[in-house]
Symmetry: C2
Subunit: 763 residues, 2 copies
Amino acid sequence: MVLTLEGKDDTLLPDFPKGPLQPYRARASFSWKELLLFLEGEEMLRFKRTIFSALENDPLFAQHRGADLPLEKYRELTFLRCKRVFEYDFLSAEDMLQTPLKILAIIHCLGMYDWSLATKYFLHTLVFSSSIYNLGTDRHFMYIPKIFNMEIFGCFALTELSHGSNTKGIQTTAHYDPSSEEFIIHSPDFKASKFWVGNMGKTATHAVVYAQLHTPGGQCHGLHAFVVQIRDPKTLLPMPGVMVGDIGRKLGQNGLDNGFAVFHKVRIPRRDLLNRTGDVTPEGTYVTPFKDDRRRFGASLGSLSFGRASIMGMSIINLKLALCITIRFSATRRQFGPTDADEIPILEYQMQQWRLLPYLAATYALDHFYKSLFLDLTEFQRGLQTQDRSARQAELGREIHALSSAGKPLASWMVQRGIQECREACGGHGYLAVNRLGELRDDNDPNCTYEGDNNVLLQQTSNYLLGLLDDRTRDGARFESPLKTVDFLEGYPGILSQRFTCPSVGDGWDTTVSLEAYRWLVCYLLQESARELSRQRSLGSSDFDARNNSQVYHCRSLALAFMEFTVAQRFHDFTHSPSVPPSLRGVLGRLSALYVLWSLHSHLASLYQGGYFSGEHAGKMMETAILDLCSQLKGDAVALVDVLAPPDFVLDAPIGRADGELTQSRLQLAEQAPLVLGGAGHVPLVACDSHDPHDPHESGTAPPLSFQCGSSGRKQRGFLSYIELYRNLWAAVLQESKVLERASWWPEFSAKKPVVGSLKPKL
Amino acid sequence: MVLTLEGKDDTLLPDFPKGPLQPYRARASFSWKELLLFLEGEEMLRFKRTIFSALENDPLFAQHRGADLPLEKYRELTFLRCKRVFEYDFLSAEDMLQTPLKILAIIHCLGMYDWSLATKYFLHTLVFSSSIYNLGTDRHFMYIPKIFNMEIFGCFALTELSHGSNTKGIQTTAHYDPSSEEFIIHSPDFKASKFWVGNMGKTATHAVVYAQLHTPGGQCHGLHAFVVQIRDPKTLLPMPGVMVGDIGRKLGQNGLDNGFAVFHKVRIPRRDLLNRTGDVTPEGTYVTPFKDDRRRFGASLGSLSFGRASIMGMSIINLKLALCITIRFSATRRQFGPTDADEIPILEYQMQQWRLLPYLAATYALDHFYKSLFLDLTEFQRGLQTQDRSARQAELGREIHALSSAGKPLASWMVQRGIQECREACGGHGYLAVNRLGELRDDNDPNCTYEGDNNVLLQQTSNYLLGLLDDRTRDGARFESPLKTVDFLEGYPGILSQRFTCPSVGDGWDTTVSLEAYRWLVCYLLQESARELSRQRSLGSSDFDARNNSQVYHCRSLALAFMEFTVAQRFHDFTHSPSVPPSLRGVLGRLSALYVLWSLHSHLASLYQGGYFSGEHAGKMMETAILDLCSQLKGDAVALVDVLAPPDFVLDAPIGRADGELTQSRLQLAEQAPLVLGGAGHVPLVACDSHDPHDPHESGTAPPLSFQCGSSGRKQRGFLSYIELYRNLWAAVLQESKVLERASWWPEFSAKKPVVGSLKPKL
């Protein structure tokens, strides 16, 4: 693995421009280039930079953030960009199937640029194609090349208007008609319309549609997936019997066309049933290759995990971007100080460190985790392809399902909270659209909902753990799983009897202490959840009620704590492995320590309540350790976001640019100002001289720069003396259209005055 | 006070339409009309309904939510609506000054409709005018009538580009020139531009501008406020020397024009200094009527509290709306159930109750609190007007400052989290723009930032409490304050030695138990904060550093806990007062109990850590009590949001309508469907007959309804048999433009195919 840049091309990892971030960069305990190379490897880095560079140099990808872009235009632009990505062909279809992390890389590069584009591309090339690939058989593979040359455009249609979480309740039907060897796809009512389906609104020609399969005689065999053509690729008009449309504006990702479809007895050929797990013979008999229901269930669960693991990754990307913007801003924005004249960067405040740096640590920890989970998933995927029907394969499916079912909630919530914290930590500037934090929050938000509502999904994980406990109690089965995430539970009675022993002051708080506490916590919550469940049952509750009434404060907490622990343990193992270069061990160790402590702190009440902690000192030590770690990481924070940051063009937030130029010296600006102001869109600014040598306001050496704004009918006079401005933000503000122009509706104020009280309201 | 509706006009409180919410409404333990009349009184209710009714009946206020509205158009519309509000003249200028709660009522009615409008109106008629009224003297009152007939339009300009929180660092200057008896308003550089100022972007003709006042000889007398004309009312063009513009798109409230201004030696007459607390003689001598700096400070602090108390109210409005939408949706949306066929409303799930009902309780508690704080403020305001310079008036100013400084953070954060929870609790439907939850979140967001960043503001409150502790330690002064919010601290050494005693099972958990725990908690956090501060100082830290390093886990927690307790105590006193009708005591008592317990639970770790709680049982009892209260309030939840809900026209969220019509029976829709579909904007839908009596899909009694969509060049055929649809949501989706239409850019897919790999990206 290449860890230094000797002999490397400067275009791969160019130095950042000099500027106000320099002092923090100089303070870093490590080289950001070395960490980036260590984490990504040169090939991946080159791959990502190639994508970024293509976008930056292509006028189709010019950024319009904060501009007025009508919905239809934004969708058109997103489609055109998606098509352009096909033309670039960054990764061929074959590479996609073989280099899983590169698939993620391309999605993430596009997502860093714009999630509407990434999702559009992802749903077509990955979700649609892999559904066909994984759920279908040879007879369906003819669709694959058509996907990759865009002959057809695909979408994935599971959710219905009235059934999201409860997919078993899906009402679309597929009746088999042996006389014509066709399935009849039908929506019994409008509540059964497919709803929310990305790409369906305006673009998709084909959909993978989930429906209840019925064979002649009335037997229902449950949910199966079908390929259904919904539009004519030659005209993009709907196929007969299909009512398809756009569900309208959403909170975010509005470049993507989410849609609905109602099927009115749409006939499709028998071959378009995706038949890997179940098929219908021409005569109408249902057949399945699976004998063991539990194994079939495990196998099918595993394949749902792909979407959830992907969402973890998407969420993390959003927090990476938000932290780049916010930490760079915090390192240059000054407010208050020991004296009135001496304001300090807000990153120097313990409060600001505490608000941001734990999220930075969490970003690194979760970034590592989802990548490793993705590799676990590809192992599982290989098993599917090779028809592995072993117990291990099924167990692997269940374990991965449990991890992705809690991993998605953990990541999407953490990121949603983190972006909100970033928005607020940038104050008013975070509320300006041009600084992108709002868009990140809005685009991240659906990650909490799709592929399973977070709270509902967490039950999958707690059920998994409670099931293992049941197996052990009933059958004496060991706690063990292919990825070993549950193996520590084998020691659970002993762990539960442990009590926290304060590390001595000299030793400080080691991460192993935190991990030990987490093990106790998971065991405690597992025991408490099991007790609550059986208490509910003993009160006469049905299983349905008992489970529902054991979620709050019990099963939900269990699933989250187990997940946090798993993420923390993997990140700890990674950061403490011998492969880590000595020069990076310090900073990675601190990130790992902060993530686990900060997460654990959210369970402080349980640690006390369950008796693991006692006395005031334990909690205080924990809090002191968190604040100490924040303080230690403060000097590394800018370099740590430099590792995560895409190029300025992609990050596209004036207050988060790599040059940190909130401010600029008078001399620099005097040179550049005509250019900056000349670029101000519709506002022609003409430099003119109003220098008054006797004016007490002008005492600098450079001549003041004045300008007129000539677009409003009257000259608007101003000046740029003592120039030291928030350059990037100002440039962005002035580049918007009509910034200085009078409102078009000015006579509504000036001429048409209201007659107060002229209208008489009545009830 | 009128508590029953006997003899009341049905138009004041009409019954809700029948529908799926009926079963929950029937279950309520109280009459929503009685509670509404008790809380609001008939006059206020009539006033609000009159405003709502005017909006609903005026085509200028037709709702466009989710539509493509260009920024400029939205701002024009907002201005026109603002002007129309003047024409309605709901409340005269005189009434405004005399009936404080009606001022709030009008802002809140407008805010429920659209915050851009409410803020535009509020900044002009209230913030601008009350700044002149409170900071100015007789010579400025000539501005007041001009404000209320809209001859001029105002804004309030304090914040600068580089100084938001640190207002003492404001850099705009006002030099007095005795030769012309003028002030010269000047921005020394662009960082000193006024920034974020609402109404300044496009509309305002006059601004209250804060600047550092300098008298001849170079003496600076600190920040003072001036009335500065920035635009010509006859043309809306900027005045000479003023560069004024729009800061562009924000995350929300985009109907409001926030702006910036740079002043280049703008001369204004001496009389336009707002001179209540300091003046300059014609010759240039600075004079002030205040002798005691502390009292002057107290007096000026109090007047800042008005904005913060208003923001509390605005925040609560947002949560009211979000909860109306979400709880009505939760009572009708069904998902999962004991059997596959028997799905239950999601409000029946303990998890959903726990996610929403504590926020409902908090809404009631905080709603009561900010109204009572507003009345305290008007008492304080009267003191200002009567030139009361007593110690009590100054203490009242300090106390109200402390309450509003923590009240705004508590309310705005709670609401921001609450809306996010509502968004998620509505699943995908909450992510549709038309359902308004995103807009509420975006419009509420700046409440966390303006009038003081929440974290910075909290320091005002902790400083106030720590100051009282200092006074007591040093001088033996008693803990007491005009509003008695701190009086309980007088017993603090005794309170600190108390320990929690579990209520016996039969008694349950009474609110007095929670309030007692809160008293201990505030005392504990006060003690710990004071200890941390002195520990920091003993390590040699400056006061600046010691304070900054005592915020996290200490002063910040102290301020929040004190505020929660104060809100809870006032709500408890209110709900347990003899004026509460017996029929309402049950539900109000449960709301009070839930708010205090739920808030207290967020401090569970501190209760254990400080030794007030010990053993597993205490925490468990608390959690059981919270869940029990949620369950008890479940049946009242719909009626409780009925009390808070504005008319459907104002709430404007299809899934939150008062009829709860997510679903509708086949027969009803068969009658109405042509109408519903005929209203589908640009999509003409023509009923046609495709009924097939032999079709196995059709087994109902009513004939199926089919339709053609004729707008796409080809007929799109569908059907509406088995009609039972999410009526309101469907109607909203279908009313958007071009829902079913083919994308205008369809040839980009159908004809212009990408040549995969035709572009070669390189680094």
